[in-house]
């Protein structure tokens, strides 16, 4: 006997079914078209986000099926996954029924049928559990970050009704049919006991009612998608598909060729790229961005979620209003450190950071409106190539006595070492460049520096919205390097690393760019940097730099080096790896005073100290400086010290150590 169940009980009414289904799809399509028209108000072409189409499709399928963007330990995610997986299964089963019924394919029979039946049954229960949790969360626990706009009940009701009517239908059917495989739907079988002993007439009425009811719920669900929060099914999928594959790691260059342009960056809602408008609509208000935003958590007036919601409202009104200063306050825009915590936690991969930089670009380029400290830094970078207006000639002072040639004198060097502004000028951070250089010497690397020819890479200028300054710096640096045959650049700073590696190629600069931790890891693994001294007994904690951990997923290299140097793994702080908490210096914030709320550096320092740390290890000169300030402000000088990983490694690898030595010569 074939394992299946009777289909087509209501086949004489199929014309009605198809009429209704057709109507639902038409209503849905009309709604979707209306939404798509909203996004078309934006700038740019569809092709902007169609590179690598196969990878995009694959990524979305994996995103949806594994719910990987949603699955983060800090937030409840099971309930959503149950609903998604359940509905995917419901869709699959419906498809199987249709294929068997209309095309005679054995898609709803055999062992496959039994498995499907069991899965459907169990997932109906899981969806109900999930939706109950969602209801509980929305109306009882009410987490602060969760937006709860009017009309959020309808989607949940529809989500609940579908498996509910499905289970009842199955129960009613099993109460009468002598189904040999009834136990394959255990929940339905349990429901069946409520209906035992129905007379045939009642059964028929009940079954027919439930069947049409179940169908109606499914069709109403489809029809209302574009008109309710259910639209995140479509907008979210689209947002994931059209995601900028580099995003905040390589911001979009602006075109300055039109000298008559009167506006740069995003002034009003229609100045945004269409994907940003889609992003604004894809937001469900889950608030994970806000719950992770270091600016929000230290009481700054920035909420990435509220910004997105405000933009969506602007879009609905097709508002000609300027966004910066009215829809979102200037202080909120300047509060972002571009740490990318919001993006990493956003289930929709909304491009929070580039969107915010779009608005900063308008403030800086079009309105010339920004905190006064920035002007000093911009001017410094413009004329002296560093934000502190220190002499260009002083750029290689850190290297005095270390026997490091200038690239001009050693054009055949295998590596160009790029310390960056902080390590070149800041007295404390210089020690990190010295440690790195000494380690390279120790490993026998032939390297050179640019010295006074090196200019600020432009990371902070770009992220504070001064795209014009960024491009002029990038062009200058690229032109400086053009005559040399540089293949590999090792940077001392994660910000230079990101900018040189990800952002210079669009402007014509292409080299192999390596952060010093990666390079040192390679040297250690090749046995070129043997550990000499016994490890110190101090408790060492590593603070992940956002630009390494979140921008590049580089959490292993620094830990490898520390483990080698210390003979044991470093202690971990609760917010570590990709979950790291920003030091407060990214996105140009290094150049700005932090006036509102609690200082991020202090917040982070307290967290690191709470691990019992005696030494805080960093791999970024900006983190180093920010945390050192946090340390001083906490009055912990002398009790806790902060070192770059290179300094700690140099202490273990160099004869005589490094950290407690005054500047050493070779």
């Amino acid at each position: 006997m074939e394992i299946t169940r009777t289909l087509g009980t209501y086949s004489q009414m199929y014309w009605l079914l198809y009429l209704l289904a057709g109507s639902a799809v038409v209503v849905c399509a009309i709604g979707v078209e209306r939404q798509v028209r909203r996004w078309r108000l934006g700038q740019g072409k569809l092709q902007d986000r169609l590179d690598h189409p196969l990878n995009r499709i694959l990524a979305v399928v994996v995103d949806l099926l594994t719910q990987r963007r949603f699955r983060r330990a800090q937030h409840p995610w099971h309930f959503h996954a149950f609903i998604v997986w359940g509905f995917a299964l419901f869709f699959l089963a419906t498809l199987c029924v249709m294929l068997q019924e209309h095309f005679g394919l054995p898609t709803f029979s055999g062992v496959w049928y039994l498995g499907l039946k069991l899965a459907l049954d169990l997932f109906a229960l899981l969806v109900l559990t999930g939706v109950s949790f969602a209801v509980w969360r929305r109306w009882r626990t009410q987490p602060v970050e969760l937006s709860r706009p009017a009309g959020s009940a309808l989607p949940l009701v529809l989500i609940a009704l579908l498996p509910l009517t499905g289970l009842l239908l199955e129960g009613v059917r099993l109460s009468r049919d002598d189904d040999l495989w009834a136990l394959w739907s255990p929940v339905g079988y349990g429901v069946a006991s409520f209906f035992s002993g129905l007379d045939p007439q009642s059964y028929s009425t009940l079954h027919q009612g439930l069947w049409w009811g179940h169908l109606s719920v499914a069709l109403v669900f489809i029809a209302v998608i574009p008109f309710t929060r259910l639209f995140h099914l479509a907008s979210g999928t689209a947002a994931l598909f059209f995601v900028d594959r580099q995003g905040a790691a390589a911001l979009n260059p602006l075109d300055f060729s039109d000298e008559d342009a009167t506006s740069y960056g995003v002034g009003t809602i229609k100045d945004f790229h269409w994907k940003r408008l889609l992003d604004a609509d894809a937001c469900t208000g889950c608030g994970r961005c806000e719950a992770q935003c270091p600016a929000w958590l230290t009481k700054k007036p920035l909420s990435p979620k509220e910004l997105g919601e405000a933009l969506s409202t602007q879009l609905s009104n097709k508002s000609p209003e300027l966004i910066a200063g009215t829809v979102v306050g200037d202080e909120a825009l300047w509060a972002c450190t571009t740490c990318r915590a919001c993006e990493v936690h956003c289930p929709m991969a909304i491009e929070h950071v580039p969107r915010l930089v779009d608005l900063r670009r308008y403030l800086v380029l079009t309105e010339s409106r920004f905190p006064a400290e920035l002007q000093t830094a911009f001017r410094g970078v413009e004329t002296s190539g560093n934000p502190w207006s220190l002499p260009r000639q002083g750029r290689s002072d850190w290297a005095q006595g270390l026997d490091i040639p200038l690239l001009a004198d050693a054009p055949d060097s295998e590596v160009l070492f790029w310390p960056g502004c902080a390590a070149a000028y800041d007295h404390r951070a210089r020690r990190t460049a010295q440690a790195q250089a000494l380690l390279f010497h120790q490993a026998g690397i032939k390297f050179a520096i640019l010295g006074a020819q090196e200019s600020c890479c432009g990371d902070a200028a770009r992220r504070t919205g001064n795209e014009y300054l960024f491009q002029s710096l990038a062009e200058k640096n690229i032109a400086t390097l053009a005559p040399y045959r540089v293949k590999t650049i090792v940077t001392g700073c994660p910000h230079c690393f990101n900018t040189l590696q990800n952002e210079y190629p669009a402007l014509g600069g292409q080299w192999q760019v390596i952060h010093h931790t990666t390079f040192l890891q390679r040297l250690v693994q090749e046995g070129r940097l043997p550990i000499m001294t016994a490890p110190p007994a101090a408790v060492v904690v590593y603070h992940d730099s956002c630009y390494l951990a979140r921008y590049h997923g580089m959490t292993g290299e620094p830990r490898f080096l520390l483990t080698q140097a210390l003979g044991q793994s470093p202690v971990e702080v609760p917010r570590c790896g990709e979950e790291t908490f920003c030091c407060g210096g990214g996105g140009g914030r290094f150049w700005l005073e932090e006036r509102a709320g609690v200082a991020m550096r202090s917040e982070r320092f307290r967290e690191l100290k709470a691990c019992g740390a005696e030494v805080i290890a960093t791999a970024c000169p900006i983190c180093l400086t920010m945390l050192a300030d946090g340390l001083k402000e906490a009055g912990e000088e002398g009790r806790i010290s902060i070192h770059d990983i290179a300094e700690i490694l140099a202490d273990a690898c160099l004869p005589g150590g490094f950290i407690y030595m005054e500047r050493r010569t070779l």
Binding site: E259, L365, R392
Partner: protein
């Protein structure tokens, strides 16, 4: 109202210059030139007069390509046009020569007000605006920290003097030099920066009827190396601060 603002390009003061082999001048090839910071105040003030009173503002400079750059900086800040008195390459002028150089242009423009920085930051000269006032027979006020256009073509300016303020009422036409604090020069918005490239910049030749180079000449120029005194105070923070304060009182 017509306002002329005199501008100069100066080497970025953060840079350490190199002395030429002859020992009489500074090598300029390696130096980054910027609009003189004192002139920036003058330009900002002039642009504000343009914005508030509709004044016509023209920037004037002397020199070669770096001077052109200074003019473009002034354009980016909002000045509408400029005149460059182009000097032959390598020609160095004294304050006297520079003021004679400007004279024909200024006579032709016949402004109501001439604004300039109170001095140049590179050579600390504070001569040209005053000499120009003299040659044109304009009244003048130097190192002005506040400027108001009063009734009946008069100016009210505020000068900070040792321990107080001096308010001067003067008739137009006049020459006024600007002191730090008169305003906060703007960081030009990008559309202005890009527009600056196409604003009219006229070049004129220096006058031939005067000997521009007569006068003093530089005998030698040397660099001063000041070694910074570095001292670390040990012990607790309170005594450390007291020691530092004491030392600053005595030595600084």
């Amino acid at each position: 109202m017509k306002v002329v603002v005199l501008v100069n390009a100066v080497p970025d003061t953060a840079a350490t210059p190199e002395i030429a082999p002859d020992g009489r001048s500074v090598l300029t090839e390696q130096l980054e030139f910027v609009l003189d910071p004192y002139d920036e105040y003058a330009v900002e003030e002039a642009v504000r007069l343009k914005e508030s009173l509709g004044a016509e503002v023209i920037a004037v400079s002397i020199g070669g390509d770096v001077a052109r750059k200074a003019l473009r900086c002034a354009f980016a800040m909002g000045v509408e046009s400029g005149v460059l008195v182009r000097l032959p390459g390598g020609m160095e002028l004294t304050g006297r020569g520079r003021s004679f150089c400007l004279l024909p242009t200024l006579r032709e423009l016949s402004p109501d007000l001439i604004l300039a920085g109170k001095q140049t930051v590179d050579s600390d000269d504070a001569q040209v605006p005053e000499r120009v006032a003299e040659l044109l027979d304009f009244v003048h006020a130097s190192a002005v920290s506040q400027l108001t256009i009063g009734e009946g073509a008069r100016l009210l300016v505020n000068r900070e003097i040792e321990g107080g303020h001096l308010v001067i009422d003067l008739p137009l036409p006049a020459v006024v030099t600007t002191e730090k604090g008169i305003n906060i020069p703007r960081y030009p918005a990008l559309p202005q920066v890009l527009k600056a490239k196409s604003k009219p910049l006229h070049e004129v030749a220096p006058p031939l009827d005067v000997d521009l180079t007569a006068g003093w000449q530089v005998e030698s120029v040397t660099l001063q190396h000041t070694a910074r005194k570095q001292q670390i105070f040990s012990g607790d923070i309170i005594t450390g601060v007291q020691q530092l304060a004491e030392l600053l009182r005595q030595d600084a």
